[in-house]
Assembly symmetry: C2
Homo-oligomer: 211 residues x 2
């Protein structure tokens, strides 16, 4: 029998960190899969929306869609990946969009209820990539939050609240400092995995304990 | 019983095209796996070395290693992927290197014997990513070809031969025209797949006939 110290137990059950931008199609795809995958291995997931555009600016990186040849391939690969996992996806227009409003409301809800925050995140993703609703306007994300039980005016206030502006900024800076270079980006016991296409590897990593 | 027309049979047995650069770590990893994967589905593979650096220049793309934060992650991911598939990999120094010499000899050998050309390609990849031998110099790749039975001086001549300079250039231009935006890059019945990490999807694609 293996007896674990409480510290070892804590390490074993360390949640998976899931960094994503609300405007990221591969983040959207991963959002459909990450919690089931984690649950299979007895893990929780901490959802951490951040601003990928800000990371790109600091790093001098260019967006996936900024080069036509890469954009064409990416579009094909995204929709092919969505079909493979039976996830509804239509590329929204405009794309990409700024996601400050969604990110700030996310953290405001999270301070009240983590499960509802995740539900909100899924609703935002679903609106953008499922129903082609532009999720940039404050009013739109406030309406999405209203549908899951929050007060519309409170949501608008949260978006304008310095606390949540700063919270989203802090997570984004933390992402930069931890070399999060795309969306989705997962940390599993400190090991970084970039991309929806690394979820199979995350699965194997959790299964085997790493290699 | 399904009766196929000869045209349908031809389509079913269309070879997989495998575009790669000799200086590409993920191309190296895929080179260990692509033929077994294809054989499982009764497919052949056409190996098509090209010059990724030229594609990057034309497209204004930057190399994987040109940004530190991305380089760090990529290095971790490459070695982790190599360990996963039990493929020996040590990142060579210098990296990347120009691969004109290897590409030209490849096509010169291919004109004589396709299987030997593949053997040569594997030997070049093994020298670079297995034994940290710089594969840029003509002399080095001529020695590698010599070891599998070719005359050293003939190899040097082939590298300087306008025919093979042009052949490699033609394949590279074809790659650009077909939006090959990285290495490895595979075409399966016209469907493009980019990356060693898409081989599982290629496998499923061949298994299911696509989706």
């Amino acid at each position: 029998m293996v007896v674990l110290t409480s510290r070892e137990e804590d390490e074993l059950s360390e949640p998976i960190e899931f960094f994503f931008d609300f405007s990221s199609p591969y983040g959207y795809l991963a959002s459909h899969r990450i919690n089931d995958l984690a649950a299979k291995h007895g893990r929780l997931v901490i959802w951490r929306p951040f601003l990928l555009g800000a990371v790109f600016q600091v790093n001098g990186q260019s967006a996936l869609m900024s080069q036509q040849f890469k954009a064409d391939y990416s579009l094909l690969d995204m929709t092919r990946s969505a079909r493979r996992f039976d996830i509804p996806l239509q590329m929204p227009d405009p794309f990409p969009v700024a996601t400050q409003a969604a990110g700030r409301i996310y953290y405001w809800i999270e301070d009240q209820d983590k499960a509802l925050a995740r539900q909100f995140a899924k609703a935002v993703y679903g609106a953008y990539f499922g129903d082609n609703i532009n999720i940039m306007p404050k009013e739109t994300v406030a309406e999405i939050a209203e549908k899951i039980g929050f007060d519309y005016e409170d949501c608008i206030c949260a978006i304008n609240d310095e606390t949540y502006k700063q919270r989203l900024k802090d997570v984004t800076i933390e992402a930069m400092n931890r070399n999060v270079c795309g969306s989705p980006f997962m940390f599993v016991d400190g090991e970084p995995f970039w991309g929806n296409d690394r979820l199979e590897m995350v699965d194997q990593w959790l299964e085997s304990g790493g290699w």
